[in-house]
Symmetry: C3
Subunit: 336 residues, 3 copies
């Protein structure tokens, strides 16, 4: 609550590359492509696609530099691992973790997102845009952090961490304004699970999705045990949860997890164009429409969230569950 007035972050002076983090550019001047689908179905695209690739690569370089630009230009930044920008009609939250690799989620980062969501809920914005800085959207729970903490004090830490996960997921379930999420790259574990709790999901062709819960000795979180079977069908959801099946952006779109896929090079522009268009709608209509769509799900999702977190806590509290997790995580770390 006391952060309520701290969220208004000044816009970045237009650097000409701000589009790479889904920033505020004048999309009307940029050449806008049609949806990816139609562009891909077109035949002779060799030349443009080469050009696009170069732009993309350059973009990525600038992207890294931009991360610091964003921070340098924020006068009253109260966040460490996310960036919050107030745009015209919407709030933009960017995952940009300084304290974990690949935008992995620690309890501290999850708390920052909760705070930002709490602020966006009461500010004048009509909707929320969630995206990420860098090549990865979110790599899920931070394994190194989990091993470090759970090995110190199993009982206390398993409670603390699962409570934070619960509150983080709850914040998404309860958010009343539409949430648009723009997936620039891989979304793993909890980073993928939260997508069905958002309202519109756009992905870059580079994005992919994986929730290898059983493989890494975790039970599902983020309501994936309910939302994934609902959206993907029981068979594919279970293949993701049990076998770690990886979905490409196109597969995720074909099966309903993602609503549309865009070229990486124009992804930011396409998203901003559409978000700005959405932000011209009536705030009441947007919020009431979301309310209608979510009304029957809200209490169910909250119950699922409670159960999932309780299950994870039990797993981490048991010696067997934790040993299994540790040996698995350490294998992964040695592999990687």
């Amino acid at each position: 609550m006391r952060y309520r007035n701290a969220t208004k972050v000044h816009k970045i002076p237009s650097s000409g590359r701000a589009d790479e983090i889904l920033g505020d550019i004048d999309v009307r001047e940029a050449p806008i492509m049609n949806e990816l689908g139609s562009a891909l179905s077109n035949g002779g695209l060799n030349l443009p696609s080469v050009k696009r690739k170069l732009v993309g690569e350059n973009g990525y370089v600038f992207d890294k530099r931009l991360r610091y630009n964003v921070r340098q230009n924020e006068s009253n930044c109260r966040y460490r691992d996310i960036v919050v920008r107030k745009e015209d009609g919407f709030t933009h939250i960017l995952l940009s973790s300084q304290t974990s690799a690949n935008n992995a989620l620690t309890p501290e980062i999850m708390k920052e997102v909760c705070r930002a969501l709490g602020n966006a809920a009461v500010d004048s914005s009509k909707l929320l845009l969630l995206s990420a800085v860098g090549g990865v959207f979110c790599s899920g729970l931070d394994r190194t952090y989990l091993i470090g903490r759970l090995s110190k004090d199993r009982r206390k830490e398993s409670c603390r961490i699962t409570e934070t996960i619960r509150d983080f997921v709850k914040a998404f379930i309860q958010f009343k304004k539409p949430i648009v999420v723009a997936i620039n790259g891989p979304a793993l574990g909890l980073g993928a699970s939260i997508l069905p709790l958002c309202d519109v999901v756009w992905a870059s062709e580079k994005a992919w999705f994986q929730t290898p819960c059983a493989t890494v000795r975790l039970t599902p979180v983020g309501c994936a045990s309910y939302t994934f079977p609902q959206i993907l069908g029981v068979a594919l959801a279970n293949e993701m949860l049990f076998c770690g099946r990886k979905l490409t952006a196109q597969e995720a779109c074909g099966r309903g997890l993602v609503s549309q896929v865009f070229w990486p090079s124009t992804f930011s522009q396409e998203v901003m164009l559409r978000v700005k268009e959405m932000a011209t709608c009536s705030a009441v209509v947007l919020e009431e429409s979301k309310g209608l769509v979510r009304s029957f799900l809200k209490s169910l999702l909250e119950e699922v969230n409670e159960r999932e977190c309780q299950m994870l806590r039990q797993l981490w509290s048991s010696t067997k569950g934790l040993d299994s997790l540790f040996s698995c995580l350490q294998d992964k770390i040695h592999e990687g």
Copy 2:
């Protein structure tokens, strides 16, 4: 109730083009194509497709003429904006609005459909076929009508219109025999929302689907706030409701809104062939099977319908909601 005996409309004498409004032709004599999918995947289709196009164009011309033929041949027509035909084993309702453009829905037209559904519920037919005359299936609520009425008497008219919408949607929810719907062209707003309340949805390649609720300052109706996320996934459903995303027939089929897509030129024949086949099934098995499929949804859908209509009434009762609607609708009218 008093119209119960009025529904038996005589068949049109076979004019050789009746197939264009999904009429009663001997499909066994016509060359029937396989499903669109397999036909499209086949390679060397240049010549047939040209031929098909011509047939389609001719068909469209005859189609317009036919609209009047249909009416001229009905001796005891009690409907103005729809045509009701009793076929062998099924009842055929065709939207064919004389009082609105593009089969747009006014309260009067919705009431006619309700009456026809009420009659079909108790006649000897085993199932219902719903289709439309002309190039558009249904363009949703009639905007010109809405502006005209709501600007006269906001409170009274918002009640009256939303009550009619509620009863119209309820008539679909409660209809016990299977409803097959054949979408010949664009289906917009409420015209698209009712599709998941029908049982089998076949579309012509020319059809497309759009429910731009938020864009035109309306909240969802026709239970779309519940059925669209269920069928299309939350992400795509919201993109349709919030951003006015347009789905092609093939996209709608890939995502589950439509069960099969057919070539425009043979669409009517394909539909009639299948509906007649369905009508050979046992009436009890059809009705009981639908009962099983719908049993868990019926009361939920009725609740959704109530909520949606209540929300729309509130929106129209508020000065702000109405002003927003008016400015938006007038923009659209000036654009178009």
Copy 3:
């Protein structure tokens, strides 16, 4: 219960072709293909695909021979129409009916499956693999059996048969360990309906799916009246139930009934590779994850199952329903 100790069937001595019934082969030595999807999208596959076809044909020949090998090598076989093999970490149930054609289900076969499921529930396995010997996965309820029994004693037999169906379906609903099902060929009627009650569904390119309930004068069973609309959307589910629409493996995968499709020639290897990988996961995590995914569905599915079987019994108890069934089944038998 008394069969609990009878399930440990010795492994077949590796015959070099055991892979054709999803047996225990060293998949690391075999050349493993990528998922079908990516393989198909690749261009120049002419030579490999020819080779693959030959392997597939040979495989089929060996397959037939193998059916007898499997039986000869089982010392303490307690099952007649199924084969149960205990593998490392999982139990493998194969439909291999001696008393019906095309793995059609009779009450006796359903009871054998229930017994095998009951045993697998309490043995040391972490998961269950369900597949079939021969070219057909399961052709649904045995029509010849139905006609024979129901014509003898309508009331008694309709009760007995529907009770067996109910218990068979209930056994799937209540099974707590993950069930992987591998569909080698056609899955019809009840053989297709049970798929959404399993957890991961893999299919060979040769598989196809059909539930022509209304066409053969039956109401849906196996919870298809609930699970099919949930997974496929109301429109396609009803087209399957009412019109007997046939889904190819690829269509079933695109619409969520199947999670992945593999080449017929390497299907067994792909499945075994993945099942063995799954069986390395923690048993607790697997069972708890399935518990989370299914928790909200279990009681609903049990209710659906009760209703469906009650409906079928009523249908078979009525003279009209039975006459309709008989004339339809006899037509089919004459046709075939």
